[in-house]
Symmetry: C2
Subunit: 204 residues, 2 copies
């Protein structure tokens, strides 16, 4: 029963993306065929090729449904509504990233990004991530420098190093937890890590 209404077409598009998430997660991106994705969505490959150019296009469309952690952290940190104290602003933004990572879709997609795909095959994703990382790094260093000027950051801690530590901690936490979410409760461990980190950096 071909040709659906416009709304139904949009629904199958979403269904295909949902299916892609599931199968990519199960089998890894390279080992899944478009046939498998289509069948999971109750469609055929024809539907896939209608909505997407190819597997890579589908993959990118899937990514666009979630917000990248670094992008989100940037937005949070630069939100003018946030508290004026830079360290506190950073702390909250970091906590927020961990929170959002636990949402099912975000979790699935980022598991795929970290553990189920080969970055080499999608060079532009790599570049995108690169730009984001640099931008994020710069913003965070700025905040730590502001904190140092206010005297809220311990003098012995250099802003560049604090930034690398925080970013590494975040990335490492995501990488580890997404590899095996059963191993611990990130909703508990994450905040405790982050709070300990900031607690040890402020001038006491």
């Amino acid at each position: 029963m071909p040709k659906r209404t416009k709304a139904e077409a949009e629904a199958t598009r979403e269904a295909l993306l949902d299916a892609a998430e599931v199968i990519f997660l199960e089998r890894g991106v390279s080992r899944t065929s478009l046939e498998q994705i289509a069948r999971q969505a109750g469609m055929t490959r024809g539907a896939v090729y209608w909505h997407f150019k190819n597997k890579s296009d589908l993959f990118h469309a899937m990514l666009e449904r979630v917000k990248m952690p670094l992008r989100q952290l940037l937005d949070d940190v630069e939100d003018p509504e946030r508290p004026n104290e830079p360290l506190e602003s950073l702390r909250r933004a970091t906590l927020h990233v961990v929170e959002r990572l636990q949402r099912p879709r975000s979790r699935r997609v980022h598991t795929i990004l970290f553990h189920r795909c080969e970055v080499a095959s999608d060079v532009d994703v790599l570049n995108l991530h690169e730009k984001l990382a640099n931008e994020c790094y710069d913003t965070m260093v700025e905040r730590f420098e502001q904190a140092r000027e206010r005297g809220t950051l311990t003098e012995s801690v250099e802003p560049e190093i604090a930034t690398r530590m925080l970013m590494s901690m975040l990335v490492g936490l995501m990488y580890d937890w997404l590899r095996n979410p059963e191993s611990y409760d990130i909703g508990d461990v994450g905040p405790r890590m982050i709070n300990t980190f900031f607690g040890r950096l402020v001038h006491v």
Copy 2:
């Protein structure tokens, strides 16, 4: 010119593994064919199938030529020759991991592991890593607890959280740097991060 002496056969085996490192790094594991690896080594696919069962077998043989970071950290930490002070022992072991990661072979293989392969396809590697991570976690928590008893670890820092922080930092650092080693000098940033971490955790 087929059949060489025994030593030459071993040499082609190594050449095949070297070739695999190079091509896997360039193109990602799933996108490289055994043909490409063979040609890079100046052989044909027949040689590959003589020395290895299939691509997965070759991949694992490649992994066995390097020491996994967690395995190495464990060995270092448990080395009875190491200083008696647990925090100092941990600090040195962590520095050592960063040092060794920079060695060309280690760097290539771990870039492949982090960024050029889909873990889903090699389940046993996942399990191996899982066991190592747990073992490593336990040992590190033990050290932090010893430090706490000696009063060298700040009371407000819980051993479990300190362990997660350190492991996340290490994993995140490796992940980030291997993604783009040009972006910063890990030989400088790594030690400064680690020293700052331990410097802020000890009782001051």
